[in-house]
């Protein structure tokens, strides 16, 4: 007993000392420390999958380090590797990372399981959040998905990933007497007319078909689940789903470049920028690069809304955001990094320096400079961006955020590969996809 009491007392003393030291470290409370910076001695491990914004961010991180004294270990692996690694790290409550990207399709799983820290307390604490950071400035559509069951925000979005369509050689389309397609039918007609003109393949899409195929699936009237999130019965073998898979696979097989099945997003972007692929349904953040530095098609490119099908227009809309794993030992410093990385000033600089335009802050989108700079060959891309976000607000992308979706996303990739490579017909492959989806759901413990 005596031992126990003594131990508690020691702990109390240590805790009091630590608490006192912590209070002294707060802004405005710390005594002069010979120029010591706020986060001196702190090492932050930050990870996000590789994309435009995370790559651009790397250029500015030395400034954060210089200003705060923190050392930042920053990594940007590819999308699948990042997700695999982070799923493992988060599930084991590892302290390996302090700031992570909360990936859209893992929202239900990572936030639902309580693996990332709710940020509401940080946001509401004026000592930890700069007054001008303003959470209300983020587009409501970009933050809604990152809330837990109690409505607490668990990640701060750095991108509103919206899907559009774009042509690198719009001049060839015009020469064929056409404009950018508004419907799937028009798209098929246009691709037939321009494919291999000037030797350029007509169409390419990223081989993450669990993403690029879905707007076609929904446009034809199909879906992944019967009624997510309440009814997760897969409906991937419906006649609409088969028709969509047949259409999409045909477009890629007939009009895609050699080896289109292995095209990752960066290959598609590079192909567009170099004028080696004409048309793609792709994310805005990638398509606008056709008008940017290093592009050979800046003067001939054009963008439009994602075409629609018989049942309407369903462009992909998703978001990715910075979060703090519950295992992190540097949560306050991590929040400091997040507020810096999602500040209006930094987004503004990224837009000016790199043309990063998939921003999540409404005030920035409304700025005349933003609107004016996103006029690409006479097309108001900022308006297309807002229009797509408005479409996405209808909620048809909810299927992506249910916890058992990630394996089904992969099964969709494989099913479309089978059709494009002619291993199976669309009907056979989608029937197999349906069986596999049922198996995955059963394994995940979903009662159907």
């Amino acid at each position: 007993m005596v031992m126990s009491t003594r131990r508690i007392r020691r702990r109390q003393v240590l805790a009091s000392a630590a608490g006192g030291a912590g209070l002294l470290m707060l802004p405005g409370k710390a005594p002069a420390q010979g120029g010591a910076k706020k986060l001196a001695g702190v090492t932050l491990n930050v990870s996000c999958w590789s994309s435009s914004y995370p790559q651009f961010l790397a250029d500015y991180i030395p400034e954060f380090e210089k200003a705060t004294g923190a050392k930042v270990n920053y990594e940007t692996p590819s999308f699948p590797i990042y997700n695999q690694r982070m799923d493992l790290e988060l599930s084991t409550k590892s302290d390996a990372h302090d700031v992570i990207n909360v990936t859209f399709i893992y929202i239900g799983r990572w936030i639902g399981a309580g693996w990332v820290v709710p940020l509401t307390d940080y946001i509401n604490d004026p000592r930890k959040t700069p007054a001008d950071w303003d959470v209300g400035d983020f587009l409501p559509g970009s933050t809604a998905a990152f809330k837990d069951r109690q409505g607490r925000l668990c990640a701060i979005p750095w991108i509103a990933d919206v899907q559009m369509a774009g042509a690198s050689r719009y001049d060839l389309i015009q020469q064929a007497g056409m404009k950018l397609p508004d419907t799937f039918d028009e798209m098929a007609t246009m691709l037939k007319a321009v494919n291999r003109k000037d030797g350029i393949p007509g169409f390419a899409a990223e081989n993450h078909y669990g993403w690029t195929f879905i707007p076609f699936l929904q446009g034809f009237g199909g879906n992944v689940f019967r009624n997510a999130p309440t009814d997760l019965t897969p409906v991937l073998d419906s006649p609409e789903a088969v028709a969509a898979a047949d259409f999409f696979s045909n477009m890629l097989r007939e009009y895609g470049p050699d080896g289109v099945l292995s095209y990752t997003y960066d290959q598609v972007v590079e192909g567009l920028k170099q004028g080696r692929i004409n048309y793609s349904t792709n994310n805005e953040t990638f398509l606008v690069q056709m008008a940017g530095a290093g592009s050979k098609v800046a003067k001939t490119c054009a963008l439009s809304l994602m075409p629609g099908g018989p049942k309407g227009r369903f462009p992909n809309v998703a978001g990715h955001g910075w979060g703090i794993p519950v295992g992190s030992r540097n949560k306050d410093a991590a929040w400091e990094f997040i507020t810096w990385a999602t500040s209006k000033q930094l987004f503004q600089r990224m837009f000016r320096d790199h043309g990063y335009s998939s921003v999540t802050r409404r005030s920035l989108i409304d700025e005349p400079e933003f609107r004016q700079k996103l006029q690409i060959n006479g097309i108001d891309v900022a308006q297309l961006y807002l229009d797509t976000l408005t479409l996405g607000a209808k909620g048809y992308t909810i299927y992506r955020t249910v916890p058992p979706y990630p394996p089904i996303d992969h099964e969709i990739d494989v099913a479309i590969q089978r059709i494009i490579s002619k291993q199976q017909s669309a009907k056979e492959s989608m029937a197999r996809l349906q069986r596999n989806a049922l198996t995955q759901l059963k394994r995940a413990g979903v009662k159907l």
């Binding site: 699948p80 493992l88 599930s91 470049p257 080896g259 099945l261 080696r276 099913a415 590969q417 394994r443």
Partner: protein, 284 residues
């Protein structure tokens, strides 16, 4: 008694993780629900699910295809080169060292080299063949050729190993029986078949066994070149287990697949050793 501590440590280090794998395979463990680590309510559930899954059996078939092709080509290429290099020459010694380069490269580097070679846009191989008037389509996105493309890369990486093993064995063959056979009028084929082969057979069996086991562990090439595609055409069992475990977090299920693989490798090892007459040596 003196060996007991060492055996205990060895047992813990070697058998401990393996035993844990088997125990995990009896649970529906997923990190999303930590309580599943101790759920032994249906210990054979994973195994029943695996055996009823078409994707698993397809992966086994792909594995058989890949293993047969790679082991046969690597042993044939290695043996052929070893026979060519088995003579005293300074030039051949240098050449021998050059042949070892692919084997000492990190596997991921090998995979990147072949990724470049197999990507039509940037591949010197594709450009060369097109220039020669023999253009070919992407090999890794065609289900008919993808497994062969991986086998070619794997063979390039590992034939030096078989060459090295068999060359060492050939250099141990005593000269007397070779001389005697030559005096009796044996030609090169007869010398190989009746004299050299019996001497190198134990090494040959071990080499086949090593390559067979390694072929079942194939991963980096598949990961980088095809990601198991197109449409699962290159998804070997190892890759299937990886996807289930790390992509989808079905750790119990993945452990069961891994346990079946260990059992399969064990059975194969015994079979190959028996069929090859492993352990027998030539009476001199």
């Amino acid at each position: 008694m003196g060996l007991l501590p060492a055996l205990l440590v060895l047992g813990l280090v070697t058998l401990g993780p393996a035993l844990y794998l088997v125990v995990t395979s009896l649970t529906p463990l997923t990190p999303v629900n930590p309580a599943t680590a101790f759920d032994f309510s249906d210990p054979l559930g994973n195994y029943k699910a695996i055996l009823a899954t078409g994707e698993f059996w397809r992966s086994v078939w792909v594995q058989v295809e890949l293993s047969v092709v790679t082991v046969v080509t690597q042993v044939a290429a290695g043996l052929g080169l070893a026979l060519l290099l088995d003579r005293p020459s300074r030039f051949l010694e240098v050449l021998r060292t050059g042949f070892l380069v692919p084997m000492v490269l990190p596997p991921i580097v090998v995979a990147i080299i072949w990724k470049v070679l197999y990507t039509p846009d940037i591949s010197p191989l594709h450009h060369l063949l097109a220039w020669l008037g023999m253009p070919i389509h992407s090999l890794i996105t065609n289900p008919a050729t993808a497994i062969w493309a991986i086998a070619a890369a794997d063979t390039w990486e590992w034939f030096p190993f078989t060459m090295l093993m068999l060359l060492a064995a050939l250099q141990m063959v005593p000269q007397e029986p070779l001389e005697a056979a030559r005096i009796d009028g044996a030609n090169a084929v007869q010398l190989f078949w009746h004299v050299r082969l019996p001497y190198i057979r134990p090494t040959l069996v071990v080499t086949v066994l090593f390559r067979l086991i390694d072929s079942i562990k194939a991963f980096p090439l598949i990961y980088v070149l095809t990601d198991g595609g197109p449409g699962g055409a290159t998804q070997v069992t190892n890759y299937y287990a990886f996807e289930q475990t790390f992509n989808f977090s079905y750790w119990g299920y993945g452990s069961a697949v891994a346990t079946l693989m260990v059992a399969g490798v064990f059975v194969l090892s015994v079979a190959v050793t028996r069929l090859g007459g492993g352990g027998e040596t030539v009476d001199e």
